[in-house]
């Protein structure tokens, strides 16, 4: 977990890095709590090869998705029905949301979600708010396979 967290954290500006790290810490603390009390949901997902180390990585990826990638990508959703896909948006003096931006962030989003999918992580795991929600989602996946 530490390596993945560090790679992602080091690639971020200071203010957003802090938010990312706080969410990582929050999610992992919840996992540690469930671990200490021998939570049944945790025991169950572990039996399906979701070890503590792997879950910690998943939590880091969830934090990155929610704090960084998903909000950025929300500015570039595909659209057909209005002017928003053809007119660039100038936000303050610092940023332009234009076609180049939309292409780049959509590519990053798609690469990330395809990457985590190859690791057995669905987008549903990334969009959950709390560690227990993530465990619940993994559990639902196992139910589907039973």
């Amino acid at each position: 977990m530490e390596t993945v967290r560090k790679i992602l954290a080091d690639s971020l500006p200071a203010d957003i890095r802090e938010k990312f790290l706080i969410r990582c810490e929050h999610l992992v603390s919840q996992l540690n709590y469930f671990d200490e009390k021998g939570d049944e949901r945790l025991r169950r997902v572990r039996r399906a090869s979701w070890t503590t180390k792997k879950l910690r990585v998943l939590l880091v990826l969830n934090a990155f998705y929610q704090i960084v990638l998903a909000p950025l990508a929300s500015s570039a959703r595909p659209t057909d029905d209005s002017f928003v896909s053809r007119v660039d948006v100038v936000y303050g003096s610092s940023f332009v949301f234009d076609a180049q931006w939309r292409t780049a962030i959509n590519r990053a989003y798609n690469v990330f979600t395809e990457m985590v999918f190859r690791l057995g992580i669905t987008e549903r795991f990334l969009t959950q708010q709390r560690t227990e929600d993530i465990l619940y989602r993994i559990g639902r996946t196992l139910d589907d396979h039973d």
Partner: protein, 244 residues
């Protein structure tokens, strides 16, 4: 073949390293830009919603670009906005325009997006208690508003949702009336004041979202980070209000 834990961890480290190397220049943005991106995503979503049933066009473009007002201190006349036309009626969708309450003129706040009937004005005046009277205080009267919307790039929590009600009550005296002044209209074009939230919810928080929607003239729209986008889809079941 299933990977061992060590193989899985090595694989993810390699993938993430490659991802950061290739795409870091795209996603390494400050908190302000990330929040702006989310707000623009919500703005796009609302524009798309109106575009399903209305003529929707940008106005006051600068060099062909939509100049987004990012702070209530800016003069709205210098920024772009959206004009919404339907059946002879015309509305404006603007960002970051201050709203002055009709309950007391000293109560003013700035939602992320406002909708009002064209012909109603963004007013301005100078006040010694604002920038020492050197800059104009821009605002729209709450009575002139059709609706307003707020964007929060975070996970939902009870206090966030309840505090949104404060904005609604401060702006609209009818929101405290028993039948909300007869404003709720399922056939109306306009969404009731809506809180767009990035994250999702489960369990009690989800029940609270539903309870707020049936108890007050508001919408709490969750999951804006990833999938809610289509505001007019059949299962969205959002509150709508008249423009009376």
């Amino acid at each position: 073949m299933t990977m061992t834990e060590d193989e899985w961890l090595k694989t993810v480290e390699g993938m993430v390293r490659q991802f950061a190397r290739t795409h870091g220049v795209t996603y390494a943005k400050t908190e302000r830009v990330v929040a702006a991106a989310f707000e623009i995503g919500c703005f796009h979503s609302l524009v798309e919603y109106y575009a399903q049933t209305c003529d929707v066009e940008p106005e006051n473009l600068k060099d062909g670009k939509f100049k987004y007002l990012t702070t209530p201190n800016g003069n709205p006349a210098n920024f772009s906005y959206v004009v919404i036309k339907r059946k002879g009626r015309e509305y404006q969708l603007r960002q970051q325009v201050r709203v002055r309450s009709s309950i007391h003129t000293d109560i003013a706040f700035t939602p992320d997006m406002v909708v009002f009937r064209t012909g109603k004005k963004v007013k301005d005046h100078r006040d010694d208690d604002y920038a020492k009277g050197k800059r104009s205080f821009f605002y729209v009267e709450a009575d002139d508003l059709v609706s307003f919307h707020e964007c929060k790039c975070m996970n939902p929590f009870p206090e966030l949702m309840v505090s949104f009600l404060g904005m609604v009550f401060a702006a609209f005296p009818w929101a405290k009336e028993e039948d909300f002044g007869g404003r709720i209209d399922t056939d109306s074009l306009h969404l009731a004041p809506s809180l767009f939230v990035g994250g999702s919810a489960r369990g009690l928080h989800l029940r609270m979202v539903k309870a707020l929607k049936v108890s007050f003239p508001v919408n709490i729209i969750l999951g804006m980070h990833y999938g809610t986008w289509e505001l007019d889809r059949d299962d969205s079941d959002l509150n709508r209000i008249t423009d009376a």
